[in-house]
Amino acid sequence: MMYLQIALICLGCFFFIVGTLGLLRFNDAYSRIHAITKADNLGLGLLVLGLLPSAVNAFQGIKLLLIWLLVLVASATASYLIAHYLKQQQEGDV
């Protein structure tokens, strides 16, 4: 069980690193949004999954899952807003 947890957490960290790399290396805002939201949401999900077995009680487990859910919703909305704003600006330029 513990090895599985460690593996999950390491994988989660890997996705975070990849996502950050994408944020830094991509040269266009859309791809950056893509990199950061997708990779980070997956990474966070894996982290939560890895931590779940360590939760003391069910309540704590639910809290962990809630954190993931909230981040998902928030980052989805935020990246939508950024992309929407970018699109509007580009259309304005044309």
Binding site: V73, T77, Y80, L81, H84
Partner: protein, 324 residues
């Protein structure tokens, strides 16, 4: 391991601060500032101060960040890109002393503080022991709430007054013309999200207020979350800032009124100012806190919403409203 983490955290904090001061444009500076606030919240956790972490995340990073973004958004492009370490737009007089003096004084400040921290004498008085001793009489179990609302409640009373004064000044600064702000972009997704997210936010705010009497949390953190929910609603295009003026005023002052009334009415029984009768101390403190949460939420929100609407800056003097 822990120390290594702390050292990294501290260095990251310093780098973030440098980023705030010397990043190219102001928007970047604001983002760095918010990151600084979140890192600082982590530092508070490391310093065993979860209350401060909550407050820092909600108020220091959250609200201040929103306020700053809002302000930067209203600057014209030229001013937002105003470069860091220059002296003025005129670019004049890069004199020697004006470069050396700041470096010199910053170094002096740092050395003095270093010495003060390093050669610190051992404190002859230990307040934490006194707090722990008197905690049972305070009516709450969480020592920080006990300090804020019982042992040093006078500070808190004045602090609410400080918040109120800030709102009064904001009201005074608001232009008389109260035309409704046109076209708050009613984005369907943002609208939908906030409609679903605000109720749980309110629940969390109330929970944090309630938790404050026995664990980290309390009126200020709860109020900050309430304010965040209101700011969120406003940004999503709900027209909540158009509350009736008189209703808003009473709401703003409600916490202060209750606090002051309780503080004064105990004097009728011959007790000193701001004493809570021991049998009902816990209930009274909770009641005051609940009212304070409500008021603090409204106050912080109206500090955000009372900001002057984006007026195109007029460089000519005709824009002045001296006629009043």
């Amino acid at each position: 391991m822990n120390l290594a983490f702390d050292v990294l955290l501290g260095i990251a904090l310093l780098l973030c601060a440098a980023g705030v001061f010397y990043s190219r444009d102001l928007f970047r500076a604001v983002v760095m500032f918010i990151a600084f606030g979140l890192l600082l919240a982590l530092v508070w956790v490391r310093l065993d101060a979860p209350d401060l972490a909550l407050a820092e995340a909600a108020i220091g990073a959250g609200l201040t960040g929103v306020l700053m973004i809002d302000a930067v958004a209203h600057l014209s492009a030229k001013n937002a890109h105003h470069q860091g370490a220059q002296f003025d737009q005129t670019g004049a007089r890069p004199q020697l002393w004006s470069r050396i003096l700041p470096v010199f004084s910053a170094v002096i400040i740092f050395i003095l503080l270093l010495g003060a921290i390093w050669w610190r004498p051992d404190a002859p008085v230990s307040l934490p022991d006194l707090v722990a001793e008197s905690l049972p009489e305070s009516g709450v179990e969480h020592p920080i709430t006990a300090v804020l609302l019982n042992f040093r409640s006078y500070d808190t009373l004045l602090e609410i007054a400080v918040l109120l004064v800030a709102v009064v000044v904001a009201m005074a600064l608001k232009p008389d013309t109260s035309e409704p702000e046109a076209g708050n972009s009613k984005d369907p997704i943002l609208h939908g999200l906030s409609a679903r997210l605000v109720p749980p936010m309110l629940v969390v705010g109330v929970y944090i207020l309630w938790a404050g009497s026995y664990m980290p949390g309390g009126a200020f953190q709860g109020g900050a979350i309430l304010a965040a929910a209101l700011v969120f609603l406003k940004l999503a295009g709900f027209g909540i800032e158009r509350l009736a003026d008189s209703l808003l005023r009473i709401g703003l002052a409600l916490g202060f009124i209750v606090f002051l009334t309780v503080a004064t009415s105990v004097m009728i029984g011959g007790r000193p100012f701001l004493t809570y009768p021991e049998s009902v101390a816990g209930e009274l403190i909770f009641f005051i806190e609940a009212m304070l949460t409500f008021s603090i939420g409204l106050i912080l929100f109206s500090l955000f919403s009372q900001a002057p609407p984006p007026v195109a800056p007029t460089s000519s003097l005709q824009g002045e409203q001296d006629e009043r």
